[in-house]
């Protein structure tokens, strides 16, 4: 069978597609079933948030930062508030710090539950999606009780938090955490040892740690490739150094490890929340911040460890009540940038699994 004339063809995956997480278009050059080249085309969700922030006061920017990455909106609020507080040199009260940590970690668990459900759904197991969202509902109820919102919270503001915790919060939070800890065993039992799951995720999409560092990949994807770097420990912010928790890493950089590491992170977050609830002090929840908040001139790049990676906000102020420049940088941007370099030479089904395991959220990429 001499040279059979074959030709590579271009398949468009997205922008509307059940398994690109958001409106992302991937132009795949395929040779039969093997993906040879990936070219991401983004910008479908560009809302010019950074330009909008230049025309808003600092307090008005907080709801905008929510929309930057709405699955973990608390982290977006946190990083923005941190940047503003560092510019103005504000110290926030103890109680506010503890509440912030509790909210951030709860949000991290909620985001990882969505990851669990969506990844399972992309690989074909349709039921874990419902299980993950059911647990997330319990967490969202906690958020709604505190700040009235289920998705975009507008809660963590420069100076502290906007409202105090209602008195039912702590007992309900404890019972929610206990329930999630138990249900986690179900999740692991359903998929971790399943031969079909292992066949679909083990060894698929290996990400070399040097490639990951070169492209600025961060978060669970970086740690699943064996690089031990977590902003909460290595560039400390808030009060994470008071709690006893571990940075999770996994040695192989394949899809299976990227899936397992997020389940590990849920367990660590549960530990942090329990310790924070135990140590929650009384006091103010907001430092005194004038209504005409005008931080002195300066610039600052604040970063937090989001469930997707590093969420950074660069803020430059000239002493006015509106910032001169706000740049938001999300972890998904770098992971999508790195995807064409390690996601090729695989089947399209593997590409779907890899894309799901990176946990990319498009609003972060497009802003």
């Amino acid at each position: 069978m001499g040279g059979l004339k074959t030709e590579e063809f271009i398949v468009n995956m997205g922008p509307q597609h059940p398994s690109t997480h958001g409106v992302c278009r991937l132009m795949l050059t395929m040779d039969g079933e093997i993906v040879k080249k990936i070219e991401p085309v983004i910008g479908y969700l560009h809302r010019a948030l950074e330009k909008i922030c230049e025309n808003r006061t600092y307090a008005q920017c907080i709801p905008i930062s929510d929309r930057f990455e709405y699955v973990t909106a608390m982290s977006c609020n946190q990083v923005f508030s941190m940047a503003a507080e560092r510019l103005a040199g504000i110290e926030i009260p103890e109680r506010a710090e503890y509440i912030r940590v509790i909210m951030l970690e709860l949000n991290r668990i909620a985001s990882h539950l969505i990851f669990y459900g969506v990844t399972a759904m992309d690989i074909g197991a349709l039921t874990p999606f419902l299980y993950g969202l059911r647990e997330r509902e319990a967490i969202i109820d906690l958020f709604e009780m505190t700040c009235g919102q289920r998705l975009t919270y507008n809660y963590i503001r420069p100076g502290g938090v906007s409202k105090d915790l209602p008195k039912e919060f702590v007992p309900q939070c404890r019972s929610t955490i206990a329930m999630i800890k138990e249900k986690l065993n179900d999740y692991e039992g359903l998929l971790n040892e399943n031969p079909i799951w292992l066949a679909r995720t083990k060894g698929v999409g290996y990400l070399d740690p040097k490639l990951a560092i070169a492209y600025g990949v961060s978060g669970p994807v970086l740690r699943a490739s064996g690089v031990d770097y977590d902003i909460r420990r290595d560039d400390p912010y808030s009060i994470y150094d008071r709690f006893d928790w571990k940075v999770c890493t996994r040695p192989n950089g394949d899809t299976y490890d990227r899936y397992l590491i997020r389940l590990d992170e849920i367990k660590q977050s549960i530990k942090i929340i329990e310790q924070a609830l135990d140590g929650l002090p009384e006091g103010n929840i907001k430092a005194k911040v004038s209504p005409n908040f005008k931080p002195p001139a300066g610039e600052n790049y604040a970063r937090v460890e989001n469930s997707r990676g590093e969420l950074g906000t660069y803020m430059q102020s000239t002493g006015e009540k509106k910032p001169l420049r706000v740049k938001m940088r999300g972890g998904s941007f770098c992971q999508l940038q790195a995807l064409p370099h390690f996601g090729t030479e695989c089947f399209i089904a593997d590409l779907v699994a890899i894309f799901a395991s990176l946990d990319i959220i498009l609003p972060e990429v497009d802003r």
Binding site: V11, S19, A125, L126, T127, F129, Y131, I196, A349, V352
Partner: protein, 358 residues
């Protein structure tokens, strides 16, 4: 049938029908034509109702596995949800892509739908309740169900769409690969029955429950397990539903179909699921026989109970397991199932020759 005469047996109905038709004075060829037409129409109606029921049942089962209720609004627990969906699909616009291959695009759903029902001519629903007891029964059924893969290929090609084509190609590869273990599992049973006729196969399992082929260790259970796996793949159900994988190919081969054409593919899929379960029940689970010698329930009740149990098993598979990748699917078929089924066949042949069975 010895033992207790059950109440509600229906095979007398067919005899009564035949007498009724003969009494109208029609001459022979026309008599048979009318008789088979009437029987075929009855079977079609029964199956259409079963398909509608199965769609509702699948949604309820999926809901309860996922800790939610499934359809609840249309009638008590949503029983006429499927009818409402069918009415909706009937009034949908039939979107036709300009660049399609007109003949192929049109005939693909028709072929899929028709072939799905044709297989039931040789399946016994109960004692004497079979449209035509062909002496090549099971061979006919296997041959007819193979046409489904042709119709999927036609759908993929006729849509003039890369995704659909990929889906069609995958379905053809999958169907062809899983035919071999399917037929090899069935062959073991045929060895012991000595005939291809479905009624003979069921009669070979008469008596108490231990006579059912699934309990005839060692070849019976192995054949049943491999049959169920191969049949799930033939019916394009998860974990083998690559041809229609929503998440990967945006519904694969039926991406360009809308309205009633899509409904035909959809219903045909459920009818196929029922077909493979019915074959499993006939070959391995004793057909219409009850567990005891003689039965207190009519034979068709036993048949439907057992078939719905197997369908339930297939539905549990769908909502529990992730999906295999296409090359893993092929590997599983050729490197695992084919050797196992052939070894089983040889084992069965040795047992039959040596007479080590009851």
């Amino acid at each position: 049938m010895n033992g207790i005469i059950a109440f509600g047996e229906l095979h007398g109905v067919f005899a009564w029908l035949y007498d009724l038709l003969a009494s109208t004075g029609l001459s022979q060829p026309w008599l048979d034509v009318v008789r088979y037409t009437v029987l075929g129409a009855m079977m079609f109606v029964v199956l259409a109702l079963i398909a509608l029921f199965l769609v509702w049942w699948e949604r309820k089962i999926a809901g309860h596995i996922q800790q939610r209720f499934g359809p609840m609004r249309n009638g008590w627990h949503g029983w006429y949800q499927t009818i409402a969906d069918a009415v909706k699909l009937l009034q949908k616009e039939d979107i036709l892509v300009d660049a399609r291959d007109k003949m192929v695009f049109f005939w693909a759903p028709v072929l899929c739908f028709v072939v799905a029902f044709l297989a039931y001519i040789a399946i016994p629903f109960g004692e004497g309740l079979i449209v035509a007891d062909l002496n090549i029964g099971i061979l006919y059924i296997i041959a007819i169900t193979t046409f489904t893969s042709i119709s999927l290929l036609m759908a993929g090609w006729g849509s003039n769409n890369k995704y659909a084509l990929l889906g069609g190609m995958r379905s053809a590869a999958q169907a062809v690969s899983y035919e071999v273990p399917l037929v090899a599992s069935i062959l073991v049973i045929i060895l012991f029955v000595g005939s291809l006729s479905m009624v003979d196969i069921v009669n070979a399992q008469s008596g108490f429950m231990y006579n059912w082929f699934i309990f005839r260790v060692p070849f019976g259970p192995i054949a049943f397990v491999t049959y169920i796996i191969a049949a799930t793949a033939e019916a394009n159900r998860t974990p083998f539903d690559i041809p229609e994988a929503e998440q990967e190919l945006v519904a694969g081969y039926n991406v360009e179909y809308s309205g009633m054409k899509f409904a035909m593919f959809f219903l045909a899929e459920f009818v196929n699921g029922f077909t493979v379960s019915a074959i499993a029940v006939t070959l391995f689970l004793g057909g219409w026989h009850g567990p005891l010698d003689g039965s207190f329930l009519p034979s068709w009740v036993w048949f439907f109970l057992k078939t719905f149990a197997v369908v339930f098993l297939l539905m549990m598979f769908r909502w529990t397991y992730p999906r295999l990748r296409v090359d893993q699917l092929m590997e599983f078929a050729w490197k695992f199932l084919v050797p196992v089924t052939f070894a089983n066949l040889i084992l069965g042949a040795i047992i039959k020759y040596a007479g080590w069975y009851w």
